[in-house]
């Protein structure tokens, strides 16, 4: 199994197909990252909400 390109520049341009291949991969990686980060952010928001609730309760009991 060998590296299929002559140089790094050749790898980037892919004989003219570089923009197509690289944009397809970048868009996909961004979308995959979104699918992981969106639920993680939702979880963090819930924790923040809980923090507010907790401080409200503490203030109320004072």
């Amino acid at each position: 199994m060998n590296f299929q390109f002559e140089s790094l520049a050749d790898f980037m341009t892919m004989k003219g197909h570089g923009p197509f291949v690289w944009s397809a991969y970048s868009i996909s990686i961004i979308a995959f990252a979104y699918l992981v980060l969106a639920p993680m952010k939702a979880y963090r928001d819930m924790v923040k909400h809980q923090l507010k609730k907790k401080s409200r309760e503490e203030n109320a009991s004072d």
Partner: protein, 251 residues
């Protein structure tokens, strides 16, 4: 037969606590498969003698397109289980599979379009395969919109389950479209039964990407499901304790 596992599976709390331990392992295996598959596909798989380097998009395009359909089945079957057995957990999985499946369908359309430009000379054509996948994307969006359209969660769940089940008719149409209508889109290159028309040097990275993206799909659905569990069980003691614990860890 022991049905205990089935009842446990129906408990959102059990699901949440079980998956907490699984997540890091699934994430490590998924990440490794995707990194290896992408590098192999981009740099080490041989160039295609007819399409040139643009064919390297197949390593993403084909697995995400498969998952767009598999995800729809998963969503619809979860909806059916929810309707038949009134299982809370099934509806939660159905609701969580929708955004993940929608992103997969979106990616199948976008990567296909980018691949189409250098290969067919056009970004888009109203070919049977492309049109039926676009319909799939609208079905996913329909389920997501329907879920948010109702005030009452039970009504929303039932409506989404029914829409998912009705939309299932589209999946065999997508699958067979390249055989029924002779179109620009090429027929399947990997066959479970019979000879694949793809060379092993390209097949192995493709299989790695398929495995990696199946796992990634599972991982994403689990992540969405966990958040939805917390959202729906937010008034219970265990969720309250769990979030309070997280708050204390931050302090």
């Amino acid at each position: 037969m022991n049905w205990q596992w089935f009842h446990r599976l129906g408990s959102p709390r059990w699901f949440y606590e079980k998956t907490t331990g699984w997540l890091p392992w699934i994430a490590i295996v998924t990440g490794s498969l995707l990194v290896v598959g992408m590098i192999w596909g981009l740099a080490f798989a041989p160039i295609d003698y007819r399409q040139g380097n643009s064919y390297r998009i197949i390593f993403l395009h084909m697995p995400v397109a498969v998952l767009a359909m598999v995800g729809y089945y998963a969503m619809a079957i979860a909806g059916a289980v929810g309707l038949i057995w009134r299982m809370k957990m099934a509806f939660i999985v159905m609701v969580s599979a929708a955004p993940v499946g929608a992103v997969m369908t979106f990616l199948a359309l976008v990567t296909g379009s980018i691949w189409g430009k250098p290969t067919w000379g056009t970004w888009w054509i109203w070919d049977a395969r492309l049109t039926s996948v676009l319909v799939l994307f609208f079905l996913y969006m329909g389920v997501i919109a329907l879920q948010q359209a109702y005030q009452n969660r039970d009504t929303a769940d039932k409506a989404c389950a029914i829409l998912s089940l009705v939309g299932m008719v589209n999946i065999p149409i997508i699958y067979k479209s390249v055989d029924w209508w002779s179109t620009l889109h090429q027929p399947a290159t990997i066959k479970i039964v019979g000879q694949s028309s793809i060379d092993p040097s390209m097949k192995y990275p493709l299989l790695i990407m398929i495995a990696g993206l199946y796992l990634f799909f599972t991982l994403a659905v689990i992540l969405y499901t966990r958040v939805e569990v917390l959202r729906r069980e937010s008034r219970t003691q265990w969720v309250n304790d769990l979030l309070t614990q997280s708050v204390n860890k931050r302090d």
